[in-house]
Amino acid sequence: MNAAPAPPSPARGGAPVLRAERLAKAFGGVPVLSDISLDIRPGEIHAVIGENGAGKSTLMRLLSGYLRPSEGALWMDGEPIAFHGPADAQAAGIALVHQEILLAEALSVTENIFIGREIGRFGRLDERAMRAAAAAQLAEIGCKVSPRARVGDISLANRQLVQIAKALLGTHRVVIFDEPTAVLTHDEVDPLLDIIVKLKQRGVAILYISHRLDEVERLADRVTVLRDGRMVGSYEAEGLTPHRMASLMVGREFASLYPVRVPRDIAGPVLEIEHAHVPGFVHDVSLTLHKGEILGLAGMIGAGRTELFEGLLGLRPASFGAVRLHGKPSHFASPAQAAAAGIGYLTEDRKGKGLLLGERLAPNLTLAALDRVHTVAGLDLAREAQLLDRAVASYDIRLRSRDAKAGQLSGGNQQKLLLAKVMLNDPSILVIDEPTRGIDIANKSQIYAFIQSLVQEGRSCIVISSEMQELIGLCDRILVMRSGRINGELSGDAMTESNVALHATSSAAHEKTSGRNAHG
């Protein structure tokens, strides 16, 4: 399988800082990675791409001491080295930004950033110094949260930035980013990429994982492709198009990302929300979803999109002028009521709110739809197993064993399991918050096709997304939210990145272009 190694590039750094030789990793006897060799050079951005479950995160954990390889060796500066834990790797100058957010919610941003390496003398903390350093670090990556804020109170995107700030603290020779941009919006991505480039210029070696292949194209000097736990090869990035990368990842020619738009009848309103207020987040928002429509909701972090729907489902205090479902005034006190009425909501926070990470897959799948497996004799486990089989097949969930806990699935496969879970209730209206966060390109296109097929069956869909292209590629209409209000509505040709960005950021557009008048 091994492709010819890329020739060393004299322009960048020369001798590798970190080299992996024939690494392999198995969990409980099941191989996840085998025969991986790569080297990471100073001043170089080395991207690692692959489908969900290909083993990217596992590889990164091996390189940064969180896991120990079953076979193979690591070399640092030409010397063999073994890490007994993340602390060892950190001491050697290797930092990892996890794919999953690993922060203590009960603690403040500053506290989280400095856990384990607090500043202070003789044990006494220097609070001010830490806060200042945290603020500086956050500012550098363009994160605007207060260093005093409790992590549990800030948005997912901000948590990701805090996590990055935490990893970047101090000096490093190798920094590993595992999907750092998955939860960020466009505007937040740029400052982060700038940082990465700056690090590179300082001679730091960067390992970069992302499913956003355009980012990879923009950043990477070299690209290593993994498939099913093996190396496809390492390539010079020069001339490697996203399309080519996708084909290498999936092992066949990759077609197009977005489904062909099939003309559909978009009929009357199925869901009307009037004058929604979610205290602190959403102010006087009204919207209408039509039958067979894919309605996009764009906006920056903190725009209040998530909160709007959490309010609708009774998950947080909210008030509404009116909510009409198929024309009937409705009120949902809980997600269960909404589900019974045919509304499904897929949370953006799969780890915190979506899945029981310590539980096996079947109970996770059926948790919100236990009626589907309930019989007079109790739960029908055989049927549940069937449902899991079906979900695994139809959502292409890649797993090594049925036994796995949800938390052992790769990030992307967790997302697919979550989607299967929500669909088990057979909703006629599906609200998907960040549908493709952390999903590889092949699966993305599957999910888009899936959403398309839903509306063709006569269902309706609201897609909340921070990826403008996906909204533009998928939606019939896009509402742009800003600071808790709808700041514009776009449809047809008006759905362009620049228009979305304009409405998402500029207060000039506020109220004037917002609302129903744009409806066509």
Binding site: L367, L370, G378, R398, L399
Partner: protein, 330 residues
């Protein structure tokens, strides 16, 4: 996807006991072996029957606690609730016995069950509606139940009417085909509980709430309802335990049920249920209760432990039992 087909079939938690959960049973086996070495009488049918019958009591209450704990709660009030239920039941039976005769017994059982459910409901309501840490809420009701029965009985002691004693006796001392009735009752309770926890919607929800409240909420589960229900199940279990034990104790006294909460929680934890919620093991709990009773029995049967040191040896054995069950895990 080839891996999938190759995936080995897995023992589900449920009727059958998976290997990963064998810990408490291994600990139990080790204990029995030690017991035999210490005193061969330990394995006499008589002794075993006694000990297991006795453990039925804590086992039944602990089965209820398995629900509460796996849903992320805790109930410190079970001991005084048992005293309260026993007291109420006896007072009621003694009161109606003159008019209805031994029919007082089934009536009393019904009253006990209703009282237990009401107590559980009260605990559940305080925890969920009042949003009070279960530890504190049930510490409060622990005092309340204890004081109420002390008040109702003017000092806390009330014995069952002599006219009912003999009719009621078989509920503890009787047997069916040689198996003592309390053992049968606790097996029945455990079977039902295992069914509810592993094979019903409620059981799934209970564990989900304990594992991650947010995920449960987003999955449309009403957390207050699930939690309250767990406390109600706990109350019903305490009532069932009380019903079986009235003939053995014959009375409610101020010390009835004292410190049972600790034994109950210990049985649950030794059995493999996570104290932080999200994982419940009914059969493990039963094994845990039997383990505790065997330890006590061993102390009585062995002659070389100074009476002053009994508690120390028990402490050491509990810790060792936990070590055995930990080690068997990986």
């Amino acid at each position: 996807m080839a891996d999938l087909a190759a995936a080995p079939p897995r023992a589900e938690p449920g009727w059958s006991i998976g290997w990963g959960d064998a810990g408490p049973f291994l600990a139990l086996a080790a204990l029995i072996a030690i017991g035999f070495l210490v005193n061969p009488d330990f394995l006499s049918a008589n002794n075993i029957a006694n000990v297991v019958t006795r453990s039925a009591f804590i086992a039944i209450i602990a089965i209820g606690a398995t629900f509460v704990i796996s849903s992320g709660g805790l109930d410190l009030s079970v001991g005084s609730m048992a005293a309260f239920i026993t007291g109420v039941m006896i007072l009621f039976m003694n009161w109606v016995a003159p008019s209805v005769g031994t029919a007082a017994i089934p009536l009393g059982m019904a009253v006990a069950l209703v009282t237990g459910i009401a107590c559980g409901l009260m605990n559940g309501a305080i925890v969920t509606l009042g949003r009070i840490e279960p530890f504190i809420a049930t510490l409060g009701t622990m005092g309340i139940f204890r004081a109420l029965i002390t008040y109702m009985t003017d000092g806390g002691t009330v014995a069952i009417d002599r006219s009912l004693r003999d009719a009621y006796r078989p509920v503890y001392f009787g047997d069916v085909l040689g198996v003592p009735i309390p053992i049968l009752v606790s097996l029945a309770v455990a079977l039902v509980a295992a069914y509810v926890l592993y094979r019903t919607r409620y059981g799934r929800r209970c564990v989900a709430v304990g594992a991650n409240e947010d995920v449960a909420r987003y999955s449309g589960i009403s957390i207050p309802r699930v939690r309250t229900m767990a406390f109600v199940i706990q109350g019903a279990c305490v009532a069932i335990a009380a019903i079986c034990y009235v003939p053995r104790l014959g009375a409610a006294t101020p010390t009835t049920g004292l410190l049972w909460e600790l034994q109950v929680i210990t049985a649950v934890v030794i059995g493999g249920t996570a104290l932080r919620g999200g994982r419940g093991r009914i059969w493990g709990t039963v094994a845990g209760a039997v383990i505790l009773e065997f330890i006590a029995n061993l102390m009585v049967l062995s002659d070389f432990v100074s009476e002053y040191l009994v508690a120390a040896v028990q402490g050491v054995i509990i810790i060792i039992a936990m070590l055995i069950q930990r080690m068997s895990k990986r």
